[in-house]
């Protein structure tokens, strides 16, 4: 019992310990080998910049802007992707029509749309939100459709036998059964939305800020510590967002995680 508990504690602190160990090894490497900051700044130096950028407001401001763009675009993608995915799952006609478009557009590298989007909607907020929505839309719609299609036939038959009408079957059986698959699509969609929004901020020629802008502008003047600080923040925030999604997933569909 005691051994099991200490193993549990060890398992929960191990990820944090590896982070600390890597940071210490990195610091030691930089100091002992005398590596110039242009190649690799020491973590202690990155932390100093992290603190400075937090205090002067540049980090919270740019992070806030990026998150806003990600979430607005993601919300549009999630709503439209789930709706279309469910519609495709319910109607063969919609599925046949939409499938052609999805098959053609999904494999397109979304980053290649950036020059076109700049021409169509300019370099303002609309462009970043559109790129975020477009990139997140496809994983959501594909996963939702797959989830609906893969609903256990036995569950549907059982509902029918119990007297459920088609609408009740869809709302009470099919969609709940597709939730794990929908969440898998939302996870994927969020990941690509983060990547594309940051890339759009780097490429799009905007002075509206954002983490991508902070990264590229720090890189342009060779402020390597700021580049590392921005990357660390992006990585941590990305992990938090993904973990948050997993937590919501567990709350909404607890039966999937049993065992």
């Amino acid at each position: 019992m005691k051994a099991g508990r200490s193993a549990q504690i060890w398992e929960s602190v191990l990820p944090a310990l590896t982070v600390v160990a890597v940071a210490l090894a990195w610091e030691a490497l930089v100091r002992l080998r005398g590596i110039a900051p242009i190649y690799l700044p020491a973590p202690s130096s990155v932390l100093v910049y992290l603190w400075q950028m937090t205090v002067d407001g540049s980090l919270p401001y740019n992070l806030g802007i990026t998150l806003l763009r990600i979430f607005v675009g993601f919300a549009v993608a999630a709503a439209s992707g789930i709706l279309l995915g469910v519609a495709m799952g319910m109607s063969h006609t919609i599925a046949r029509v939409a499938d052609v478009w999805i098959a053609a557009l999904y494999p397109l590298p979304k980053i290649s749309l950036i020059p076109l989007l700049i021409i169509w909607v300019g370099t303002g907020e609309a462009y970043k939100i559109v790129i975020s929505a477009v990139s997140a839309f496809f994983p959501v719609v594909i996963s939702t459709y797959a989830g609906i299609r893969q609903t256990d036939r036995g569950l549907i038959m059982a509902a029918k036998d119990l007297g459920a009408n088609p609408r009740q079957i869809q709302m009470k059986v099919v969609i709940p059964a597709a939730i794990p698959s929908i969440f898998a699509g939302l996870h994927l969609g969020m990941g690509v939305a983060i990547i594309l929004v940051v890339a759009a901020e780097m490429i799009g020629g905007s002075s509206q800020g954002g983490m991508g802008w902070l990264l590229i502008s720090s890189g342009q003047v060779m402020a390597t510590e700021k580049v590392f600080a921005s990357l660390i923040v992006l990585a941590v925030v990305g992990a938090i967002v993904i973990k948050l999604q997993q937590w919501i997933d567990r709350k909404v569909a607890p039966w999937v995680h049993h065992g």
Partner: protein, 351 residues
């Protein structure tokens, strides 16, 4: 018979001696150079295409970068020995943070009459009276597009604003991270109100009615440095002679480049070389923008005072892109150009 044999032997020995004399004394030194498709690199292209580097025992391997900023990481990583280096904030930060580089040669500056950069405004602003540098005060609150933060273009535009009594950090909105051809189009679509570009793009925008030029770089900050050549310190320490020979060939290129900028019609060969090696592509375009090719210091020396003024500006009252200023001796090695000039005058390898 003996006479015939003797003559044959003598002829053979002379042939062998001639072969030995004509053989290079050693294998050519390989020099990897980062360059871009810009006319400011003209002197280098001339020296390479006309075989001046080869003549001095240098084998040049050129790596092309669409933007000078991309060449800097490559030289830091040891993939290049020489690189173009625009006079921007990243130059100072790179060296301050331990990049093993030193600036040795000029690669073009805004000498009066030869300005390579141009400040353009939208047609609407021009119609509203922004027609020259004196009207730059009307840019208050406007969007100014530049390729990169801390770039020579941002420096020029900021200096124009300062001359008009504006605060370049607070009185305008900077639109950054946009390639110059895109900035040109954004000017036409009123997505930026003003932009500082290489002269050829300014002229192109003007000719397409996207936005007229209101001032050239040489009118804003006469004699401001645009770009330099930097060399890896370890290469310079081990192969100083090769670096000096590089500068000798380059100095010859400068001579022909500057002469052609003044009178391109009389230097068709140079114009062709520049057309083939730059984004301008066509000889008529190269000619059309002359003499706005920039001017390269005849002695090859980088413009030390101008570069240090830029460092002060980027770490001064308005911007803090440079946190730690680099002393002059850490930034420059002027002796390479000086030695090259002296050897060129003494050895006259290209006469």
């Amino acid at each position: 018979m003996i006479g015939l044999m003797g003559r044959l032997l003598a002829a053979g020995m002379s042939f062998c001696a001639a072969l030995i004399v004509n053989q290079p004394s050693r294998a050519a030194d390989l020099v990897r150079v980062g360059e871009g498709p810009f006319i400011t690199g003209g002197a280098f292209f001339i020296a390479r295409e006309k075989g001046y580097f080869k003549k001095l025992g240098l084998e040049i391997e050129t790596k092309r970068f669409e933007d000078g900023a991309f060449a800097v990481p490559a030289i830091i990583a040891g993939e290049l020995e020489f690189t173009l280096m625009t006079a921007n904030a990243s130059l100072f930060n790179s060296i301050a943070k331990g990049a093993p580089l030193i600036v040795i040669l000029d690669r073009g500056h805004n000498r009066p009459g030869f300005g390579y950069t141009a400040l353009s405004v939208t047609q609407a602003l021009h119609d509203d009276g922004v027609k020259s540098l004196a009207d730059a005060g009307k840019l208050k609150g406007k969007r100014i597009g530049v390729g990169a933060l801390g770039s020579i273009n941002q420096y020029n535009a900021a200096q124009a604003l300062l001359k008009a009594g504006l605060d370049p950090a607070k009185d305008v909105q900077w639109i950054v991270n946009v390639p110059q051809p895109d900035l040109m189009r954004m000017l036409g679509q009123n997505q930026v109100d003003a932009t500082d570009l290489a002269y050829q793009f300014g002229v192109f925008a003007q000719n397409n009615k996207w936005g007229p030029i209101i001032a050239n770089g040489d009118q804003i900050v006469p004699g401001a440095e645009i770009a330099t050549y930097a060399v890896r310190k370890d290469f310079l320490a081990k192969n100083r002679d090769a670096a000096v020979r590089f500068a000798m060939a380059y100095l010859q290129g400068i001579k022909e480049f500057n002469a052609a900028a003044k009178d391109p019609g009389a230097h068709a060969d140079i114009v062709d070389i520049l057309a083939q090696n730059t984004a301008l592509n066509k000889p008529e375009l190269v000619k059309a923008i002359a003499p706005h090719w920039s001017y390269i210091a005849d002695d090859g020396l980088p413009l030390v005072d101008s570069i240090l003024e830029m460092q002060d500006f980027w770490s001064g009252k308005y911007f803090s892109f440079v946190e730690k200023k680099v002393p002059r001796e850490q930034l420059f090695d002027l002796n390479v150009a000086k030695e090259a000039k002296a050897r060129l005058e003494k050895e006259k390898p290209f006469n």
